[in-house]
Amino acid sequence: MSAQRRTSFRSSRPRVAATLAALTAAGLALAGCAGGSGGGADGDKTLKVLIAAPQEGAGKILEADFEKETGAKVEVEVVPYDQIQTKAILDAQSGTNNYDVIQYWYTSVGALAESGAIEDITEWVDGSAEIDAPDFIQSIFGPYTQYEGKTYGLPIDGDMHVLFYNKEILERNGVEVPTTWEEYTAAAEKITAAEKANGIYGSAILGAKSAFNIGSSFFNRLATMIPGTIDPEMPQLNTPEAVEAAQAMLDVAPYALPSPLEIGFEQALPQFLSGNVAMIEFWTDLGTFAQDPEQSKVVDKWGVAPLPIGPKGHVAGALDAGWAMGISPNASDKDLAKEFVAFASSKATNEKLITTTGSGVDPIRTSTLESAKYKEFAPAVAAVAAEVFPNAQSWPTSPEAPEMLQSLNDNLALMLQGSLTAEQAMSQTWDAWQKLKG
């Protein structure tokens, strides 16, 4: 009896196990199939918005305000700034269609438009008096939204560098606020020689290879050294002024916060706010951080001026970073998505964001740039911004821009490292760019 029981049990065990295994396999297969139907409940007005980390503060305000105004639900997803382009393109190309509204770095407008990740909204923008397109600062509107004559987004954040300086450090070293890049280097050299033993440096140069850092340091100089304006299709790296711009970075690097190659804006900002840096090229919202006693030791001790210029240049600035919003071609509710984009770039919203500490947003419209509220909130910064924003100059925006910028960043980094001269850095980059276009 026991032998029979043992045998029958032994013979049924494989059968049970086989059934379980088959069920598991079937279950896995079904789970895989079910996932493809995509997210977002039908009939539910939920807008999914992709936001870059630097504008997380603005994202939260937009979410709350838009929900209040329209009743629509907004889900903001914040991602690191260097992942926006990848996420947007993969979302569209893979058919996942998770996002309705995409905040994008303006230099990728060509690449995103070319790969179908953002929609052509020319007709809507041209036909809407509410959007008031002529009110956008034109030197920003063009680079941020245009590709092959069509409009692909609306600006939401200006982003230019100006020169911030620590008044106390300059005064005690007998240094005037520099108006040329030569004066800037001399000032940095003098201050660093005198004070580096105390951990205080004349300048902080953003030299980290990641997107906005080393590129900003270079384009700041290029924009203020060339006689005309930077050509977004093919910035003029084959000119003597471009070599001078690169050389200017190299000249000041020995006197800058150690070491430029390791310094990104996350490292430079706290050093300036702690009073360890005399001069820094930085985004205008540094002015609001510097007045916040929670994070700044230099409240009322700082000043702001336009960037220095070169012998043939003029007061200007480069659009370092800079954000716009576009609509996904596969957005589930395009009208709602458009409403959100119009809302985010509206005069009222921009004015609110530029007068809110921690929003990460700069002026994008002439009306907000010159608004009384902005001047009251940040008088020193507003005055300088009014001078330089209309002269904003663009980085490359063609579909090859991501590769062009990587090539430029690589060669600039090699230059700062000492492996290339300024001239070699420019000519190697120029050659690489010709190959990309060619």
Binding site: S8, R10, S11, A17, Q93, A117, P258, E403, L414
Partner: protein
């Protein structure tokens, strides 16, 4: 019931068992197919095509991507740097791990606390390891440079991550710091399995500490050392977080190892075809290194 016992022949039972086994393997095979075979197929197809992130497989380009990586001046140096990183970091973790494992073995009352403390680096997420060490190695405000300022006031900050060769050395040390506990764990466990009779016999024969180590401990534990070496080498080749967070492949390109170079190509310039070709080149390198070592490892285990 007796009937079923008599009619169920051994052959039939064996076949049923075999089919049961195969069915149970199905989920695993499905998983491998999805996770390994499909991506590998996609990778090989991408390597022979012109593919970008937004527009994959636009054109069949035969060996053009491979030809390009032969002359791009980036891929081969990055493969070299992967080797330059993987071998020292593996040896460092292995040697230090072995020493600590031997010490733990010798110390009778090592206690649980010591073991937990020793495991902490391994339990820390790699990204956090990179962030913490980057902060500690920073030229201004970093722990090590602050100590340097205390010891030698007014001295120039040392650029651990901003100069060469200290950037690569720093990465190797941090990686070894994180993975030494892994080596300690495996080697310590192996040391526990060594037969005590052999040691007793050696003691009776009057063998000294060094003799005991070289003639008994080391040969007995060699198979485990070989296993740990191969595993750690694979881990070292896969390094990415440390490079991404601590140096971004710099200064210049001095720490741009293969994995980081592939990331740049795929996700910064979006040239998926070229990145796929680079990945295959990397695969070839890793295979050339690991396969012979694995063969040695298997032979050692067989002899054991």
């Amino acid at each position: 019931m007796t009937q079923s016992v008599l009619t169920s022949s051994p052959g039939r039972r064996a076949r049923r068992t075999a089919w049961a086994g195969r069915t149970m393997l199905t989920p695993v095979l499905l998983a491998i197919a999805i996770v390994a075979i499909y991506p590998l197929g996609y990778l090989v197809a991408s390597a022979f095509s012109e593919s970008s992130l937004g527009r994959p497989f636009t054109e069949w380009v035969s060996f053009a991507n491979f030809a390009e990586l032969l002359g791009d001046g980036v891929t081969f140096p990055s493969l070299g740097r992967s080797l330059l990183f993987a071998i020292p970091s593996t040896l460092l973790a292995l040697v230090v791990g072995f020493i600590v494992a031997l010490s733990l073995d010798a110390a009778v009352k090592s206690g649980r606390i010591v073991r937990v403390l020793l495991l902490l680096p391994l339990m820390t997420p790699p990204v956090m390891v990179a962030v913490i060490w980057k902060l500690m190695l920073a030229p201004t405000g970093g722990l090590l440079n602050n100590l340097g300022q205390i010891l030698v006031p007014g001295s120039e900050p040392f650029l651990f991550l901003g100069s060469s060769p200290s950037a690569m050395i720093s990465l190797i040390v941090v990686d070894a710091w994180q993975w030494t506990p892994f080596c300690i764990l495996l080697l310590y466990a192996a040391l526990q399995t060594l037969p005590s009779e052999v040691y007793e016999a050696a003691q009776v024969d009057g063998a000294g500490v060094w003799q005991t180590f070289w003639k008994i401990t080391f040969p007995l534990i060699l198979p485990t050392i070989a296993t740990v070496l191969v595993l750690k080498l694979v881990v070292s080749f896969k390094v990415f977080d440390l490079v991404f967070i601590m140096t971004s492949g710099g200064p210049g390109f001095d720490t741009t190892v293969s994995s980081y170079s592939i990331y740049r190509t795929a996700l910064q310039t979006f040239d998926v075809g070229a990145a796929a070709a680079q990945t295959i080149a990397f695969l070839v390198l890793v295979t050339i290194i690991i396969v012979p070592l694995n063969a040695v490892r298997q032979r050692l285990h067989r002899e054991d």
